[in-house]
């Protein structure tokens, strides 16, 4: 790739994050073929995805270079909303158990 004219450190940072994202994607594919199943597999996958998303948002989308007020306005509220959506799980488990009792 011809990247002349751009600050070298910036391009190096992009390349490091890019390779790291690909490596983390590879880790997810490895996890998929290990023996872990159910909640354990899901937690591992989500943890890796969260690290990937964090890297992309902070360095590819340059949120790390913006004022902290932008980060504090956008990210905590989004995480809060996504966490609140976890309320649905108890109902989905109830649905599963009702189905089994009906059999």
């Amino acid at each position: 790739m011809n990247t002349a004219g751009q600050p070298k450190s910036q391009v190096q940072r992009y390349l490091v994050i890019y390779l790291f994202l690909l490596a983390l994607a590879g880790v997810q594919f490895i996890f998929a073929y290990q023996h872990a199943e159910g909640v354990q597999l899901l937690v591992r996958m989500l943890a890796v995805a969260a690290v990937q998303a964090g890297l992309a948002v902070m360095y590819f989308m340059h949120l790390a270079d913006e004022r902290r007020s932008l980060f504090l306005t956008l990210i905590p509220a989004t995480i809060f909303v996504l966490l609140m959506m976890n309320m649905i799980w108890s109902d989905s488990f109830r649905l599963l158990h009702f189905r089994l009792l009906a059999k």
Partner: protein
């Protein structure tokens, strides 16, 4: 009282305050759109999780070849397109128009290849008998959740390629600035971020063993 305050009325001086985030309004608007879109995808993925948890016979149909191999290639392409987008934004900020156009062109090409591979994946599943409310393997809602999540993502990729082409054309003609390229770049990276959650949750927890 300053002249500007006098001309517009002192009560409106606050309108001229500096942005608290020190970014252009178009960039802030894109961030707000991205946040709302992230919550939309979050809601879809939670709805999928709800249905999957509540279904004892959820299918796990994704074989290594062709599905997972295809997803690996798609992931490589999308992450690489994020890198080319970054290089396009840097070139635009440096005022290098030809290089900006080259990197934007490569980003659009990678996005188009991604969309093509995605459609190939869909066609393969449809040939195997997967429909919105039925499939040969188990829980009938598998197709509805799969097609809605991956379909919304595919729609974002196609919209992104169209947006990139519009911005590239405007930038080439001198109507649009590096700021516009940066703003559409934010959207493109967001599409990449969503894919990072779609792959493990939709494909990798449903691999055929």
């Amino acid at each position: 009282m300053s002249e500007s305050n006098l001309s517009m009325g002192a009560g409106h001086a606050a309108v001229m305050e500096e942005s608290p985030y020190a970014i252009p309004s178009r960039k802030l608007t894109m961030w707000l759109f991205i946040i709302s879109d992230a919550v939309t995808f979050g809601a879809l993925l939670f709805a999928y999780g709800y249905v999957r948890t509540a279904s004892p016979d959820w299918p796990e149909p994704f074989k290594f070849n062709p599905s997972i191999l295809n997803v690996m290639i798609m992931t490589f392409i999308l992450v690489t397109s994020s890198l080319t987008m970054l290089l396009a934004v840097d070139a635009a900020k440096n005022g290098d128009k030809p290089k900006t156009m080259r990197w934007l062109g490569l980003t659009m090409l990678l996005g188009t290849i991604f969309a093509g591979l995605h459609i190939r994946e869909w066609v393969g599943l449809i040939h195997e008998g997967v429909r919105l409310f039925q499939n040969p393997w188990g829980a009938p809602l598998f197709g509805a959740t799969f097609f809605s999540i991956t379909g919304l993502h595919l729609l974002h990729v196609i919209s992104g390629v169209v947006a990139l082409s519009v911005i590239a054309r405007g930038f080439a003609r001198g109507r649009l600035t590096a700021g516009h390229v940066e703003t559409v770049g934010l959207y493109w990276h967001f599409v990449d971020v969503v894919w990072m959650f779609v792959v493990p949750l939709v494909y990798l927890v449903n691999v055929a063993r």
